[in-house]
């Protein structure tokens, strides 16, 4: 039991001008009537620019739902989410798709690379879909950071899991999005490779100024971030700044996960 666990949930931040993305009274209900499941019960949260945030919580706590709704993958049933100040509920599918394409990056647990495209093509895919030309200097920086060297023209099945996930991270970085969402990005990797990816993400925040929000259940992963939010039963119940593995571990255990 740490001191922070007793603190009341943080209220809506007064100033969201520095927010890459934020949610106000976010609600998500699946189904209706007796069978209704409240995945989010009024969540207020701000993800500030240039920060690396982890979201943790037990299964069914709503952490994935929160991320999906904030990333414009799914829609809320109440409240509002913003990306760069744009209220997502006002956007139709096309505008929302455009917003995801131009301002949001994704890193999935299962890499989700296109098997028929090589590493280079996978990285530039979002820009190709938009018909936009990548910023050469930035691309050079990203590709260097990925560190694949001469393997850039290899297909995903010719790369190791860690290499594939680095390509996936690079793809998320490539379009210089306002914010990158990760869904257990190291869930499929062994701890060493996972650490490598997390280092890479950390560097993207520190050196390239990116904003990353990551859902994870692993305290080690969470320790790489600047801040951890704890969700339970569809609400933010706690947060921890500058987390360490042990502190997060203790906190998670106290939540009975």
């Amino acid at each position: 039991m740490t001191e922070t666990s007793m603190a009341p949930p943080p209220g809506p931040p007064a100033d969201s001008s520095n927010a890459a993305a934020n949610a106000v009274a976010a609600q998500k209900v699946y189904g209706s009537g007796d069978t209704a499941v409240h995945a989010l019960r009024g969540v207020d949260v701000v993800f500030e620019k240039g920060r690396f945030t982890s979201i943790m919580g037990p299964s069914g706590s709503g952490k994935s739902t929160l991320m999906q709704c904030m990333a414009g993958l799914d829609r809320l049933t109440g409240g509002e989410t913003y990306v760069g100040g744009v209220p997502l509920s006002t956007l139709d599918d096309k505008a929302l798709t455009q917003l995801r394409r131009d301002r949001i990056g994704f890193i999935f647990q299962a890499y989700n690379l296109i098997p028929t495209l090589n590493a280079q093509e996978n990285i530039t895919l979002p820009m190709d879909l938009a018909g936009a030309k990548p910023d050469d200097a930035w691309m050079q920086q990203v590709i260097t950071a990925v560190g694949l060297g001469d393997r850039m023209d290899h297909r995903p099945n010719e790369l190791s899991g860690g290499q594939q996930q680095r390509v996936a991270v690079a793809r998320a970085l490539a379009s210089q999005p306002d914010i990158i969402f990760g869904d257990e990005p190291t869930g499929n990797l062994d701890s060493k490779t996972g650490a490598e990816i997390l280092e890479f993400m950390r560097k993207a925040v520190d050196d390239l100024g990116q904003t990353i929000v990551m859902v994870t259940h692993d305290p080690v992963s969470a320790s790489y971030s600047d801040q951890v939010l704890f969700l339970a039963d569809g609400q933010i119940v706690d947060q921890m700044m500058e987390p360490t593995t042990d502190a997060v571990y203790d906190r998670v255990r106290s939540m009975g996960d």
Partner: protein
């Protein structure tokens, strides 16, 4: 660009899976392009031949016929011109040459003349016709050279190809100066000396038999008449001037045609035939394409399901719905292009081979294979359209995939089963309405949008649309009962019982009402059919036996296993149950796969039921109406023969009575559209009354017709509001005159009078120049030996014509049934292609569903299911789907056949269902399922357990 890249890469990676889909398109496009290329090439060859033939002719005089078709004559060509006209025209200064020609020129009279071989059999090779013409030794277009002299009296010239055929039949060579026996249409057998062997520049396999003009006029009964005069202009005279001059002297109604018109005229008839061949092939192409729609749809639907994650990811990182939709459509487009290209090549090869076969057998001219731009456009057009169209629905489903699918693995939302069934119900009802409109004939004529169609076509189109809609409706509705059907059939006790029942049923039918063990057939030319019969007998026997064995073994293992239901009851229960659940789990896919199969089977069942109904109707009708003990007719060409034969037969000992019959067509005035109102008429020997031919006369009438008296077919009488005592004006010639007849009786069965509506005494037809006969019924005295009288009759008949057959009633019924069988078999072979496509579709679906279930199969393997069990599971699933498809198809086939039969006016045909073929088809479908599962089962069994689970 990215979407294009993704689509192309997608095809490349899934090429193996798309390969079977591509085959589906190849078949359809192959038929389309083959049909066009073959037809265009044939047409081109005919044109070349005729151009050669008329190279020396600047113009031609003919007399277009004012009459109408004779039932013997088909479309009557031209009337004759007077002999004297030739001299009159030749006297004109503009005319350089005027050559009269006489020919057996109506297409149905081809083959009437033939040279007899040393065994007294006419030399008449299958396929190309024998054409008989007059020839003066100088002109007649197309002749390159000849040896010998032009034929004079009692002489004949033959084309070199025909001489070859005769030599082949004789086993020795005939030479100029030899005497040949020739069978003729009107004068029986004649003996002529071979005076010349003629080589034509170009032929398309046809044979020529040439005589001088006097002989031709006598042989063809055109004394004092000629068919046409070929003209060449005098030196320095323009063709237009020649035509203008000749026009002054020809009789009224005669036409002077220039070379181009002559060619067009001559080609029209051939183009019509070519057009029919082309349209039949196009019909099959349509069916094949219709089948491939289902297969392509299925493939793309499954591919989309397999790519859920990938599509979800693309959506998440910013692909729009329309980009996703396009990527699937573009994939469909490329599959269409590849399939069309291969199909076009296949069609080209098909047409080329058929043409090569023609050339090898019949001196077909070496003109090129014609590929019109239109052929390419249509072939690629239909291939690509079919493919893109089928990919549209899966593309829409793909576009609906949510971005979250990248993280979960949930199937996209699809229209619910109930909604689909509701749409299916609506489509079915629309189809039923169209069918009902067609059946009741309430459509009338169609005349709008610049298209005018006669009533018959409206009915046909209504029936066709009805059939297609009902088909689609049933397939959509089948989603509802695919689950329960598969679920029930998949229970091992039910499946065992059904297999056993089908096997026993088939055996019972084969040996009771079916043909049973084939009788040995002596004649050499029937040996082929005997072999076919034996093969089909043994195949059926084998199939029935296997079905019984399989059914019994399922039931026995079931009984041993003890438990009545549920997994694990018997050794085979687990995989059987899983197979059943797999097939029932996705009723949509089961329905679409079964649907592809059902189309082919529905069409085959339609043809089978209609054929069976025709045979049954015919046999039943003859039972009542044909009282003759022997029947004399020409089974090859149904040509008329001299009435003298009937008189001679009557003189034979043991013959009680003879009725000679003649068919013709007469005009009963003009209908509302100004078209001639034509009906069939039958002249019979009224003196014998109904003792030989009994068309089921209504009321008391002995069938003895006097002059000026007719009997009218009951249904025809109802249509025309006529009855006994009314008068009927009948025109026998095209000259406009008609004669009033009095209706003395009605008859209700026109089966024995070749479907004619009017019966008169044959003497009436003789009055109008139709003095030959088409058939002769012979009634024998009681207590005579039928075989010996038959032998005597045969001798008399063979004396006159080598083509006539003498058959007793059973033989006659068998002959006609055989012809119906031959037709249905031919159609079924072509439809078999469709089944092959559908079969490929079944393999395709099962392969894909195995891929889709990789994880599940891996799990089953991990928990201890053996490879054998996995293979067995896949196999049963295929069997269940195939049986479902065949049952659907047969149900619809019977319905369509019923509709088709009901649409025939006057309720002439009675519905008869070929139960034996139906049971056989279901069992064959089950076997096809086993076969279809071989490849997919192999793949499934081979899967690495760990990879499958983690995959």
């Amino acid at each position: 660009m990215t979407i294009l890249k993704l689509a192309i890469r997608g095809i490349r990676s899934a090429f193996g899976r798309l390969l079977l889909t591509i085959i589906a398109i190849v078949t359809g496009v192959g038929f389309v392009s083959g049909a066009f290329i073959l037809a265009d090439s044939l047409s081109n060859s005919f044109t070349t031949v005729f151009e050669e033939g008329f190279a020396d002719t600047d113009a031609q005089v003919i007399q277009p016929s004012a009459g109408f078709g004779d039932s013997q004559g088909g479309p009557q060509g031209n009337s004759t011109l007077p002999d004297s006209l030739t001299a009159e025209i030749a006297a004109l200064p503009e005319v350089g040459r005027a050559t009269p020609t006489v020919a057996l020129n109506d297409p149905d009279s081809f083959n009437q003349m033939a040279v007899l071989d040393i065994n007294d059999e006419p030399v008449r090779p299958a396929g190309p016709p024998i054409l008989a013409f007059s020839w003066d030794g100088e002109t007649l277009g197309g002749i390159d050279s000849f040896e010998g002299t032009a034929p004079g009296s009692n002489e004949v010239a033959l084309s070199a190809e025909y001489v070859d055929a005769i030599n082949l039949a004789n086993g020795s060579d005939v030479a100029i100066g030899d005497t040949l026996v020739i069978t003729t249409p009107n004068d029986g057998k004649v003996e002529y000396t071979l005076s010349a062997i003629v080589t034509f520049n170009v032929t398309i396999g046809e044979f020529y038999l040439l005589v001088d003009i006097d002989t031709a006029q006598q042989l063809f009964e055109k004394e004092g008449k000629i068919d046409a005069i070929d003209l060449a202009a005098a030196p320095g005279v323009e063709v237009d001037d020649l035509i203008a001059a000749v026009q002054q002297v020809v009789p009224e109604g005669a036409e002077v045609l220039n070379q181009a018109d002559v060619l067009a005229d001559q080609l029209a008839a051939f183009d019509q035939v070519i057009g029919i061949i082309r349209n039949i092939l196009l019909g099959f192409a349509g069916v094949a394409l219709f089948v491939s729609l289902f297969i392509i749809y299925n493939t793309f639907a499954i591919l989309v399901t397999q790519r859920l994650r990938q599509i979800g990811m693309l959506r998440a990182i910013g692909a729009t719905q329309s980009q996703i939709r396009w990527s699937v459509v573009i994939e469909g487009f490329f599959v269409g292009i590849i399939g069309s290209l291969l199909g076009f090549l296949a069609g080209f090869g098909f047409a080329f081979m058929i043409k090569a076969a023609f050339q090898a057998t019949g001196g077909f001219p070496e003109t090129g294979t014609v590929v019109e731009t239109r052929t390419i456009v249509v072939a690629f057009g239909v291939g690509i359209l079919a493919s893109v169209f089928s990919a549209l629905l899966p593309a829409t489903v793909a576009a609906r995939v949510t971005p979250i699918a990248a993280m979960r693995n949930e199937p996209p939302s699809q229209s619910s089963v109930s909604r689909r069934a509701a749409i299916g119900g609506g489509v079915f009802i629309l189809g039923a309405i169209a069918l009902a409109l067609g059946l009741t004939g309430t459509g009338g004529e169609f005349d709008a949008l610049g298209i005018s169609l006669s009533e018959v076509w409206v009915v046909i189109i209504q029936l066709a649309i009805g059939a297609i809609l009902i088909f689609l409706g049933v397939i959509m509705l089948s989603v509802l009962f695919a689950g329960p059907f598969v679920d029930t059939l998949g229970r091992s006790s039910v499946l065992g019982a059904v297999m056993l029942g089908l096997g026993v049923g088939l055996l019972a039918l084969m040996f009771s009402i079916g043909d049973g063990v084939p009788q040995s057939v002596g004649e050499a030319d029937q040996a082929f059919f005997a072999v076919v019969k034996w093969i089909s007998f043994f195949v059926k026997l084998f199939v029935a036996t296997v079905a019984i064995v399989v059914g019994l073994s399922i039931l026995i293992s079931k009984a041993r296993g003890g438990k009545a239901t549920g997994i694990g009851g018997s050794a085979g229960a687990l995989e059987g149950s899983l197979a059943r659940q797999n097939a029932a789990r996705s009723p949509r896919r089961t329905a679409a796969t079964a649907g592809a199969l059902a189309i082919g089977i529905a069409l085959i069942a339609t043809v089978a039921v209609m054929g069976e109904s025709l045979k049954k109707t015919f046999a039943d009708s003859l039972e009542v109406t044909l009282k003759a003990d022997l029947y004399v007719y020409n089974p090859e060409t149904f040509e008329s023969f001299s009435a003298d034969i009937a008189a001679e037969i009557e003189r034979i000992d043991g013959v009680a009575a003879v009725s000679a019959g003649r068919n013709s067509t007469v005009k009963l005035g003009v209908d509302e559209e100004g078209e001639d109102d034509l009906v069939g008429i039958y002249g019979f020997n009224a003196a014998t009354g109904t003792s030989i031919i009994n068309p089921s006369i209504v009321g008391d009438f002995d069938g003895v017709l006097g002059a000026g008296e007719v009997m009218l077919f009951e249904a025809e009488a109802e249509d025309r509001n006529l009855g006994v005592g009314d008068s009927l004006d009948i025109a026998f010639d095209g000259d406009g005159s008609s004669e009033a007849f009095s209706i003395v009786a009605l008859f209700s069965d026109n089966g024995s009078v070749n479907g004619s509506s009017i019966i008169v005494d044959r003497s009436t037809l003789v009055t109008y120049g139709k003095d030959d006969v088409d058939d002769t019924g012979v009634l024998l005295q009681e207590d005579v030996d039928v075989e010996s009288v038959k032998a005597e009759v045969s001798t008399v008949v063979r004396e006159v014509s080598a083509d006539l057959a003498v058959e007793d009633r059973q033989e006659f019924v068998d002959t006609v049934s055989g012809q119906i069988d031959g037709l249905t078999t031919l159609i079924n072979y072509l439809l078999g292609f469709t089944l092959l496509v559908a079969f490929v579709g079944v393999i395709n679906t099962i392969v894909l569903s195995v891929v889709e279930r990789t994880r599940e199969i891996g799990l089953l393997r991990a928990v201890g299911t053996t490879r054998r069990q996995i293979r067995s599971m896949i196999r049963w699933e295929a069997v269940i789907v195939c049986v479902f498809g065949s049952v659907l198809g047969i149900g619809m086939g019977v319905l369509f056949a019923w509709a088709g039969i009901s649409a025939v006016p006057e309720g002439f045909i009675k519905l008869a269902i070929p139960y034996e073929s139906i049971l056989f088809t279901i069992l064959i479908a089950a076997f096809a399922g086993v076969l279809a599962a071989v490849l997919p089962a192999f793949f499934a069994g081979r899967k690495n357990v760990l990879e499958a689970i983690s995959g």
